[in-house]
Subunit: 210 residues, 2 copies
DNA sequence: CGAGTAACTTACTCCGAGTAAGTTCTTCCG
DNA sequence: CGGAAGAACTTACTCGGAGTAAGTTACTCG
């Protein structure tokens, strides 16, 4: 009779696979977020969940696999938050600003999530790199789409240029986010977004009619 | 008499510390560049140099330390190449273009060096992160300097804005470089540099007189 | 030639990723 | 109800690589 209720949390019994996977993923997200990829051991996550290590391997295959699962989920949330604001904006200029602000705010408000995303570079071996790139590419695609929308409809768009611009913005925002966290989240999301907007918008206008 | 000459390479005898350190660093650069941080073991580097592992630890302290030493040296070369071109340019606009082109060309021509720089993210634990940031900050300082030079002399420059712009450019160029290598070094350095120049220059002009 | 020291080695420890080979639960069919 | 089938889960390892304690050799200078 150590448990508070009988029906709510059945002590620590077996769960079905889906539920256990979620539990493990939550724990992994938390611990990776606190200690980083290197600093976290699989034993630690297993102990935290109250489960043995091989179970995690059965469900996620490897440490990289588990980390990647965290990363995908976090990036999906971030992408969702940003694209929601972007799509809600009345015009392209405001969409860009809204997207930028949301990006920086989200990372301020989810510092643990952020550490995981920053640690993305940890995945250097095996197929995990590929998968991590695909996760990032989703973001680049969103940006590229915005850039394309902003170009004149009739003319051929130079797809290479679009890609360059999209990767520029992706790289810039990631690096700025890292810099901000080392700087006590300063300058504010609004200030960074505004400066970036001022810096880039003119250029986009120019490219539009070149 | 297995060696080709007697005087050139004195078989495999002791060297003084400085020489050995260089030898180790060269080997580390090569092997890290080929196999990445994770994929490289200290034993492997030791074997390659023909020396025992504890010697490396005596000279470089840790795997992170050794990697960091490689990183610093490589980044210093890169910084030197870029700043040389920047300083040689007749005006700010051409300086920016020259700097960008040089950056991308250098990385095309030194793919192994580049892998090491990309793997920078591997350093997440301990004091190595700090040191790695300082190495990167050198670059950001060069960019910030250029941005400042381009602003009107009399007025207060908004130092926060300068920092934001500098980190933007740093982040963008790094991410673009990674993207290009996964894309068979395409688009060309010139094209990327030109697009980036077109994108950013207008914005810099605008900020100049705001 | 012998002390002193710099260069270097052997032979470990320890920790963490990953695994082989089971052992319990739980369900569902007769 | 009984008992097979399979899912959930564990114990008890291996193996490799980072890092180290305690020396051993070679060079150098008085």
């Amino acid at each position: 009779m150590t448990s508070t209720t009988d029906n709510a949390v059945p002590a620590k019994r077996r769960r079905d696979r889906a539920a256990r996977e979620r539990e493990i993923l939550d724990a992994a997200e938390r611990i990776f977020g606190e200690r980083g990829y290197q600093g976290t051991s699989m034993d630690e996550i297993a102990a935290y969940v109250g489960v043995s290590k091989p179970l995690i391997y059965q469900y996620y295959g490897s440490k990289d696999g588990l980390f990647l699962a965290c990363l995908s989920r976090l990036r999906a949330h971030l992408l969702e938050a940003v694209s929601k604001e972007v799509l809600a904006a009345p015009d392209a200029e405001q969409a860009m600003y809204a997207g930028l602000v949301t990006w920086f705010r989200f990372l301020d408000e989810h510092p643990r999530a952020w550490s995981v995303i920053v640690d993305e570079g940890m995945l250097t071996t095996g197929p995990a790199v590929q998968a991590a790139d695909e996760v990032r590419a989703d973001f680049v695609e969103l940006i590229a789409m915005m850039v394309r929308l902003n170009l004149p409809a009739g003319r051929d768009t130079d797809e290479e240029e679009v890609q360059i611009i999209a990767w520029t913005i992706s790289g810039a925002t990631e690096r700025l986010a890292i810099w901000r966290t080392k700087n006590n989240n300063s300058p504010s999301p609004e200030k960074v977004a505004r400066t970036l907007q001022d810096l880039l918008w003119q250029g986009l206008e120019t490219l539009r009619k070149s």
